[in-house]
Assembly symmetry: C2
C-alpha cells in the first residue's frame, strides 16, 4: 500500500481536515480523492494555490478563501469546539466509525439513484461522552416524516424502545416527527441515541427540538460533518443522510409521504449493503404512501412491523460486525459465494485495484464493490486509495 | 391426442359427473385422473364395481354407495337444481371457465404448500343469469378475514368498486367480513360479482348473508362444486379456495390474522402463475398481521394499496386472456424466454409429455408446468391427459 499521507494522525492532518471543510462542502468527491492521494495537508496546500483539475471546485475554493483564512478558520473552529465540549474525530482516531468509509464504495454518477457528493466524511465533530465508533457499531437508523401521524410516532417509539432494550444504538436526524420520537423513546428507555445533524453541533436545529438535542448531547451523541457555527442549509440534509445510511447496520423508514426523500435514502442504504427496512401503514394514510412506494419499488427492502423483524434484518449484517467473537475461519465459512470469489482474488501480499479484482474473480466491478463492503466490515480486507489488501489475521492468506 | 371419452358433452357424461360428486369429494386426484383417462361414465362404472387401485377411495366410494344410488342421485340432483334455477356446467360446455383447468398443473405432494386435493372440478353448479366462463374471464378475487376491521371493510369496498368500474368481475367466498364487503360494494357499483361456495348453491351460508347471497344469485353468480343440498363442511373451504385462486386472474388478500389460511391461498395463487396481491395495514392491527406475514414470506407477492395497483398486476396476466385481440405472432412476441423455449419444444404435430418437454427445452418439469399454464391461457397450446399439443392457429407451427 502506498502511504502518501505521512501526516495522518498528526495535529497538522487534523487542522487541515478542519480547514478543508471550511473551503468545500463535506463529501466533495474531488476533495476526498485528493486527500486519499496526497493527504489532507498537501490537499489544502494545492487547493489554496489553485492546483486542482476540477474547475468548479477551484472557483468555489477561491471564493471561500477570500472570506476566510483556512488556517485561522481551523484554529478558531477547534477552539470553539473545545469550549463547547465538542471534539473532532478523524479517520486515524480509534473512535472513527470505520463503517462510513464504505461510502467510498458507492458508484458515482448513477443518475437518479445517488447524488455525486457521496464520498466519506473528512472528519466528524462530536458532542457527548460516548466513544463514537463503538456507539455506532451496533446501531440502527430510525427515520421518517416530520409531519408524522400518531400511528407513526407510536410505532417509532415501540421500535426505538425495543432496539434500546436489545443494546442497539438508535440513530436519527434530530428532526420533528419520526426522528424526534426515535430519539425520545431511546432516551426514555435508557438507551444510546445519536443525532446526525446537517449543521454545527452547537446549533440545535430545529429550534423546537433544542431541549431534546441538548439532552442527546448530555447522554448520547450529537455529530456533524459541518463545523460548529455551520447553518442547516437545505442541500446539506441530503449530504447528511448518507452518513446516517453508512454509519448504521440498517435504516428503518417509519412514515414517508409520496415522492419523499425516502426513496433516495433507501437506494443508498441498499447500495451500501445495509438492511433497508420499511414499516407499512394504513393505505388510507398519506404518511404511509411513501413507505408503500418503497416496498413496491425496492424488492430488496424488507417490510418490518416490530423490533424482532428489525433485529433479524440487522442481525444478518450484525454477524459481520463482531469479528472478534468468531475466528477468521468461521467468518469465511459464513460468506456467500461471490464474497468468497472476491476474497480469493485478493493477493496474499500487496494490494489490488477493484478492476483487477473484478477481472480475477470473474464478477462485475459493481458486484465486487458490494462484496468488498461486506468483506471490509467483516475485517477480512482493508481498503485504501481504491486498493484492496488482505487484513492481517484474515485467515485468507495461504 | 387420445379420445378416451366419447361421452364428453353428452347427457350421460353430465349425469356421470354429477354422480361422481356424490361418491367422492370434488378435486379428488384419483377420480379426476380416472375421468381424464376413461371419461366420466366409465369412471363411474369402475368405481361402482370397486375397480380402482386407490384403496382409500375404493372404501369411501363403497361406503357412500351403500347410502345412495349414484344414478338416482344424479337424476334427483339435476331435477333439484333445475327447480332451483341452477344449472350444471361441465368442461365440454361453452361457458366452462377454462382457467380452472390449470389446477391440473399444480404439483401434487409439495408438503406444506398445497394440499393434494387440488385437481380441477368435474362440474360446477351455477345459479344466476350470467355466462360462467365469460364472467370469470376478467375477474379478480378479493378475500380476507371474517373478523374484518372497519379499515379492512373500507379498503375492500374501495377496491371492489374500482374493479367493478373498470369492468372486472369481483370473486369472493360469500363469508362475513372482507368477502361480504367485496360482494356488496360490487353490487352497489352495478358490477358483476361471483360467490364461490363450499356448499350447495341452494344453501346460503353463512345464514347471516342469506339476503346478500340471494342478491348475488339474482344479478351475479353463485357457484359451487358441491351438489345442491351439500353442507358447508369444514374441510370443503380449503378445497373451494383452490377454485377461487384458479378461476381468477389474481387474488387480493385485504386482511388476515396471523397464521391464517391466507398463506396457503397465496402459495397456490403463485403456483398457478396468478397475481398474488396483499393490502398492508397498520402494524398495530391484528387483522393485518397475516398480510404482513405474506409480504415478508412471499417475495413474489405484490403489495397493493389501490385499484390501480391491482389493475397493473392483473393487467400483466390479463394480456394473455384476450388472445383474440392480438395476432398469434404478437402473443408469441410477448412471451418470456422460458415460455418460448417450452413452446418451441412442442412438436408441430401430435402431443408430447411434460417430461419430454422438460428434456427438450432444457428446463425443469416444475418450470415447464408453470410456463405451460401461461401458454395455455394464451391459447398457444392445449393440454389433455397430461399431454401437450400446439393449438390450432397458435402461430407456433412451422
Amino acid at each position: 500500500m502506498s502511504t502518501p499521507d505521512s501526516a495522518v494522525g498528526t495535529d497538522e492532518d487534523r487542522a487541515a481536515r478542519v480547514a478543508l471543510t471550511g473551503l468545500a462542502e463535506p463529501g466533495h468527491r474531488t476533495v476526498w480523492a485528493m486527500v486519499q492521494s496526497y493527504g489532507a495537508p498537501a490537499t489544502l496546500e494545492r487547493l489554496l494555490r489553485g492546483d486542482c483539475a476540477d474547475a468548479r471546485l477551484r472557483t468555489s475554493v477561491m471564493a471561500r478563501r477570500d472570506g476566510l483564512d483556512p488556517r485561522r478558520f481551523a484554529e478558531t473552529t477547534m477552539h470553539r469546539a473545545e469550549r463547547l465540549g465538542a471534539r473532532i474525530v478523524v479517520p486515524s482516531d480509534d473512535e472513527w466509525p470505520a463503517r462510513v468509509e464504505s461510502l467510498a464504495l458507492l458508484e458515482l454518477g448513477v443518475p437518479g439513484r445517488v447524488n455525486h457528493d457521496v464520498r466519506p466524511p473528512l472528519c466528524i465533530w462530536t458532542r457527548g461522552g460516548l466513544p463514537l465508533g463503538e456507539t455506532l457499531d451496533r446501531s440502527v437508523a430510525v427515520v421518517g416524516a416530520r409531519a408524522a401521524t400518531g400511528y407513526g410516532i407510536h410505532v417509532t417509539s415501540d421500535l426505538a424502545q425495543g432496539l434500546a432494550e436489545h443494546g442497539w444504538t438508535v440513530v436519527s436526524g434530530g428532526a420533528f416527527g419520526i426522528d424526534a420520537a426515535a430519539h425520545r423513546a431511546t432516551l426514555t428507555a435508557g438507551g444510546r441515541t445519536v443525532a446526525v445533524l446537517a449543521c454545527g453541533v452547537d446549533r440545535p436545529y430545529p429550534a423546537g427540538n433544542t431541549a431534546l438535542l441538548e439532552q442527546i448531547a448530555d447522554v448520547g451523541l450529537l455529530i456533524s460533518e459541518w463545523p460548529p457555527g455551520a447553518e442547516p442549509l437545505r442541500h446539506r440534509f441530503l449530504v447528511r443522510n448518507r452518513v446516517i445510511a453508512a454509519a448504521t447496520a440498517g435504516t428503518v423508514v417509519v412514515e414517508a409521504a409520496a415522492r419523499s426523500g425516502a426513496a433516495q435514502t433507501m437506494s443508498r442504504v441498499l447500495a451500501l449493503g445495509r438492511a433497508a427496512m420499511v414499516v407499512p401503514g394504513p393505505v388510507t394514510s398519506a404518511m404511509s404512501v411513501g413507505c408503500h412506494e418503497l416496498l413496491r419499488g425496492h424488492p430488496d427492502a424488507t417490510l418490518v412491523t416490530n423490533v424482532a423483524h428489525v433485529l433479524e434484518a440487522v442481525g444478518r449484517i450484525g454477524e459481520y460486525l463482531n469479528p472478534l467473537e468468531r475466528g477468521p475461519e468461521h467468518r469465511r465459512d459464513s460468506l456467500d459465494e461471490e464474497s468468497v470469489l472476491v476474497l480469493e482474488a485478493v493477493p496474499a501480499r500487496g494490494t489490488i485495484t477493484t478492476e483487477e479484482l473484478a477481472s480475477r474473480a470473474g464478477l462485475t466491478v459493481r458486484t465486487v464493490l458490494r462484496r468488498l463492503s461486506l468483506l471490509e466490515l467483516a475485517g477480512l480486507v482493508v481498503r485504501r486509495d481504491g486498493e484492496t489488501a488482505l487484513s492481517r489475521g484474515s485467515g485468507a492468506a495461504p
